[in-house]
Amino acid sequence: MATEATKRLTDIGPPHYEKFLPPIIKRNYGKWLYHERLAPGVMCHVAESGEKLYTVRAGSPRLLSVHTIRKIADLADKYCNGYVRFTSRNNIEFLLEDPSKIEDLKKDLQALGFPVGGTNNAISNVVHTQGWVHCHSAATDASGLVKSVMDALYERFTHEDLPAKLRLAVACCLNMCGAVHCSDIAILGVHRRPPRILHDLLPKVCEIPTVVASCPTGAIRARTVDGKQTVEVIEQQCMYCGNCYTVCPAMPLNNPQTDGVSIWVGGKVSNARSKPRFSKLAIPYLPNNPPRWPEVVEAVVKIVDVYAKHARKYERMGEWIDRIGWPRFFELTGIPFTRYHIDDFKHAGLTYNRSTHLKF
């Protein structure tokens, strides 16, 4: 390392994207005219020049070993002159000039275990996070939830038969790494007990004022325990957000008995038709039941099925619920409405029904 110190490169930034653009894209860059949907996972973009670009989209677990990535590279070589891209939802896109190769590519992908689909009004890949694979904050695993849910929703990925796009996301704690808070269906890991306080460790690794200030509800107070400067948590004021733990390792929230999963629905990001909006609480708590989280899978599939059956064309989850109303959403899905559904944070009052608009 030291030998090459003078040549050490820094701040070079990422490679320029142009190096990675297939020639057909370079030729028609910014000059695409329209696109057509050919089949689930397959679309065709037509340029002003008349040239056509075929995209085949395949699902991926996102967590990929180098061995698998090399197989993807091989397919790119075989079908796309070595060009390939990933999408903002972690799917893999193969960019073809020759439509006659599409079916062969699909077969090869199938053989490798990569489903083709995720376009148009299908469920696309699940945006998700680290979970027990790599994060200290996780109240649940992310990859395992995604796998369990997508096994059950596989046909919804390979078919474009939903009323509109349906975006799923999983986050393993309230930090919500990913657009969980604006998803059609979000699965969110939750802690439900206050942090344990490691009084021995805390004074050594944490700054008390920072810890006290970290709590959104003011539940943390400085306190002396056995002569040590540490903190206490007023349990009734804690809503288990974990922000204290983020700033102070001596306040872990993990709890195998009480951690679990909540389900949120009706968020969206696009500005299409209605404005972007947050997902709303559907199910406050389901148990962590690895390896396959059957309760979560069942709940998500149920919500998707009810939506698929009742929503009108081009109605996203939230737009559909807008039309039918939340009471009917709870009725149709059989989900009980509880005290937890009623907001009690800062803007709570604005979520109350301040009208007589009611359906019976």
Binding site: G13, L53, H181
Partner: protein, 397 residues
């Protein structure tokens, strides 16, 4: 390679079923990497005990950089010594996530030599995630990466790795060049990306049109979203074609327009562009017939973030329209003013969106030297708690 067999009955369940399995991936890496092998073991333990086994972070990194590496240590290192350290590198992806097979193989080779052989393609912010290695391997990995033309992305209180939708590379709706802007911004702010000096993280995402395919309005402190100013381009023949092919234009287009500014008389579609809010819906349904206008550029929106601490925020409009030509300069100018104010007044771990809400949008606008315009709000205030500045006003009179 240790060829001791680990039993993972719980994880094995997740190899079943049609969706591609991350367990299969870890096992695949485990064939060549003891780190991946111990990851498997520790993960199985987590599945048994329903609890994670990672300790709270730790500051590690490559020389001269404050970001790009997430430190991670096992809390059961005695059982799984190969993941005692298991740090992640965030490698800055190429704009739009385009690769050549060659580039992918280079990345794989580097990571197989120095780490677990496991990746995320990609992380939620957009980086290539090299998932897990020891402290000693960080610098060599970095060195090989830069030699191959790659660099690290952001982490900590820095500018995070910007990302962009596929944009003009493959999408007919891109109202500006998302890839170029993303790349230019990334290069312009290498220092801000690598050396955390902000009150907290700052994310930038570039979406070519209001469909927002990088979720910028929900996940970026600065959301740059393409839009047009003039009329929707309309091809009546193509409209007729869609209808002939079975599109129920009245139900699926006209009645789904949020402003109801379209009319279909059975033959001709009329758009009252003055009332259109550029939601994209009609264009989405009939891409061959309708296209964004010709006067293109972007909206700049500020402030999105996840819930911690003050509740989630979506970005909101700051500059309703910037012509494409002026975009890079305007963004630079804006960022310098926003960052200056944030640096000075932002509290520790306070995102820009929270800062604006704390000091008030009007004061924030004053500070960054922008005039208020009604496009910034969904509606004017409804409470009468106005901080009048009487002296100024009276001198105006």
């Amino acid at each position: 390679m240790a060829d001791e067999k680990i039993s993972t009955p719980l994880l094995d369940e997740l190899e079943k079923g049609p969706w591609p399995s991350f367990v299969r991936e870890i096992k695949s890496a485990a064939q060549t990497s003891p780190m991946a092998r111990d990851l498997l073991g520790q993960l199985e333990l987590s599945y048994e005990e329903k609890v994670g086994h990672w300790k709270h972070g730790g500051i590690v990194g490559v020389r001269g950089y404050g970001g790009g590496v997430i430190g991670r240590y096992s809390d059961v290192p005695e059982k799984f010594p190969n993941v005692a350290h298991f740090h992640t590198l965030r490698v800055n992806q190429p704009a739009g996530w385009f690769y050549t097979s060659q580039a992918l193989r280079t990345l794989c080779d580097i990571w197989e030599r120095h780490g677990s052989g496991l990746t995320n393609m990609h992380g939620s912010t957009g980086d290539i995630i090299f998932l897990g290695t020891k402290t000693d391997e960080l610098e060599p990995t970095f060195s090989e990466l830069t030699q191959a033309g790659f660099d690290l992305g952001g982490s900590g209180s820095d500018m995070r790795t910007p990302s962009a939708c596929v944009g003009p590379a493959r999408c007919e709706w891109a109202c500006y060049d998302t890839l170029k802007l993303c790349y230019d911004i990334t290069m312009e702010y290498q220092d801000e990306l690598h050396r955390p000096a902000f009150p907290y993280k700052f994310k930038i995402k570039c979406a070519g049109c209001p469909n927002d395919c990088v979720a910028s309005i929900a996940r970026a402190d600065l959301s740059i979203i393409g839009i047009w100013k003039d009329d929707i381009q309309q091809d009546d023949e193509a409209v007729a074609e869609y209808v002939a092919n079975g599109l129920d234009i009245q139900a699926d287009v006209v009645e789904r327009c949020p402003t109801r500014c379209m009319q279909w008389d059975g033959k001709k579609l009329t758009i009252n562009n003055r009332d259109c809010v550029r939601c994209m819906h009609c264009i989405n349904v009939m891409p061959k017939a309708l296209r964004p206008g010709k006067e293109r550029g972007a909206v700049l929106l500020l402030g999105a973030k996840a819930p911690i601490i003050q509740g989630a925020i979506l970005s909101s409009v700051l500059i309703p329209f910037v012509p494409e030509e002026e975009l890079f300069d305007t963004v630079k100018e804006l960022l310098s003013r926003v960052w200056e104010f944030w640096d000075e007044y932002g509290m520790n771990r306070e995102r820009v969106g929270e800062l604006i809400q704390r000091v008030g949008m009007a004061n924030f606008l004053d500070a960054i030297g922008l005039d208020p315009v009604p496009e910034m709000v969904s509606h004017p205030r409804d409470n009468p708690y106005v901080f009048y500045k009487v002296d100024e006003e009276q001198s105006e009179q």
